[in-house]
């Protein structure tokens, strides 16, 4: 695959570190740079990102999030194309009847007819506007409701995230020592399986994971999350927490939102 465009995988990583959203990065790469998304090598993209991480002293967490999204979207697109082609091949093979002799088919001639058009009326515009408005409104209401639900839980006045972390960490260390596998399921950390408790516990483990004190594994979305104490991190205690928190703040609010959605789904 040749690439005519001036941008390469490293360029994409560079863009992702500057742009506001992954959509804008992809849009720019495809529309403005004329790069065929098919030509983006996801492996090279990962390599370029590794180089970027090594070079960058401080890592902003939004950047990897954006890049993972970009790589995932590209991978998904490629998979879709391949699957579609496969499906079509099967369908073509299954087509009924003998092949048609195309030379026997008379060729259609296009009439050079003019197509007169009339203006769109103001009424038509207003009703189109109405449609756009109601679609937009529905979308906004949905987002707003989801946001409110999360805020309600996160902004619980009695909730102290530091306290929660200490409490969770103590329980994790204690339990994991007894377990041979070295991991414990997140669900067993949640004392009462209801939304508030789930979100607050998840916030806690996300903070710890962000600090590198634990690692989190989830094989499939909506399935169990496994918590493992990171090696050599047990000794690390609370002193550092405050400064680490400020760094983690931004990414945490986003993550907790999505996780909350997943878990509330699980509840249902």
């Amino acid at each position: 695959m040749q690439v005519d465009s001036t941008i390469d995988e490293a360029g994409i990583v560079d863009l992702a570190s500057k742009e506001a959203s992954w959509e804008e990065v992809l849009e720019y790469v495809i529309r403005e740079e004329g790069m065929d998304p098919w030509d983006v090598d996801v492996v090279k993209l990962a390599d370029a990102f590794r180089v970027y991480v090594t070079k960058a002293g401080v890592l902003e967490f939004k950047v990897p999030a954006r890049l993972i999204m970009i790589a995932a979207v590209l991978l998904h697109m490629k998979a879709e194309v391949l699957m579609w082609e496969e499906e079509q091949r099967n369908a073509a093979a299954a087509a009924q009847g003998p092949p048609i002799d195309i030379t026997k088919v008379p060729e259609l001639q296009v009439p050079a007819k003019r197509v007169p058009t009339r203006r769109v009326t103001l009424d038509e515009l207003v009703s189109a506007l109405e449609k756009a408005f109601s679609t937009q409104e529905r979308r906004e209401v949905k987002v707003e409701r989801a946001r409110e639900r999360v805020e309600e839980v996160v902004a619980d006045e009695g909730f102290d995230v530091t306290k929660k972390i200490n409490e969770l960490y103590a329980r994790i260390s204690e339990t994991v020592e007894q377990l041979k596998s070295g991991t414990m399921p997140f669900s067993s950390l949640v004392t009462k399986w209801e939304r508030r408790e789930i979100v607050q516990s998840l916030l806690g483990v996300l903070h710890m994971s962000n600090d590198g004190r634990v690692t989190l594994e989830q094989e499939e979305p909506f399935k169990e999350i496994y918590v493992r104490v990171s090696e050599g991190k047990e000794a690390r205690v609370e002193e550092q927490e405050d400064e680490d928190f400020s760094k983690a703040e931004t990414i945490e609010s986003q993550d907790s939102k999505t996780s909350n959605d997943r878990h509330s789904k699980k509840e249902e």
Binding site: N90, A91, A95, I100, I102, V105, V110, P111, A112
Partner: protein, 199 residues
């Protein structure tokens, strides 16, 4: 004739997607039919002037405004489907000829490009598709019928024969006349031949 009515009559002929009867015009301009006929006669004469690009013609007791023949070929590419490539036309002909037909049949006949053709034709509103087993069943749209004036294999063959006869006549008289805008286009006319050769 009243200036305003004359303008309205002209506007109607310009706006109409097909020939208009005196009756229809009379309704629009709110004048008795006889008066309308007189107005049209005047308009026809006016448009006969050499500097006018259009003409008003009578087709089966109806009136139509259209491009004058000598200019027709030069502006034919401005019509909506003048840019259909040979490949697309071939696919479209196949659909008319063999309908009902599925996407897989098309691909079997003209190769993998068939997928793109079906997608393109659908986007242009000439065909519509519907999921059928593991493929798509293809149908012609009303818009296709009204624009191309073809609804069946029979129509297509008839049009094809007419076309061949015309070409034979033209070849015999060996005169180079520009085809009428309503007459199906002939070989090598405009469009993107290149796209097809690239296949």
């Amino acid at each position: 004739m009243d200036t305003n009515k004359r303008a309205l009559l002209e506007a109607a002929l310009f706006q109409a997607s097909g020939p208009l009867s005196v009756e229809e015009i009379a309704k629009i301009v709110e004048l008795p039919e006889q008066e309308v006929e007189t107005c049209i006669e005047e308009l026809i004469l006016e448009y006969k002037a050499e500097h006018k690009g259009m003409e008003i013609v009578e087709v089966g007791e109806r009136y139509e405004m259209r491009v004058k023949k000598p200019h027709a070929q030069r502006v034919a590419h401005l019509t909506p489907y003048a840019d259909l490539s040979r490949g697309l036309l071939k696919a479209l002909s196949l659909i008319v000829y063999k309908q009902p037909i599925t996407q897989s049949d098309i691909v079997k006949t003209i190769g993998n490009r068939g997928y793109d053709y079906v997608k393109d034709l659908e986007e242009r509103g000439l065909i519509k598709t519907e999921k059928y087993r593991r493929s798509k069943r293809i149908e012609l749209t009303d818009h296709f019928m009204s624009y191309f004036g073809i609804s069946s294999r029979k129509d297509l063959i008839e049009m094809f024969k007419k076309q061949e006869a015309e070409e034979a006549t033209q070849a015999n008289t060996a005169t180079q006349t520009a085809p009428h805008p309503d007459v199906p286009r002939t070989e090598g006319f405009g469009s993107d031949e290149k796209t097809d050769e690239a296949q």
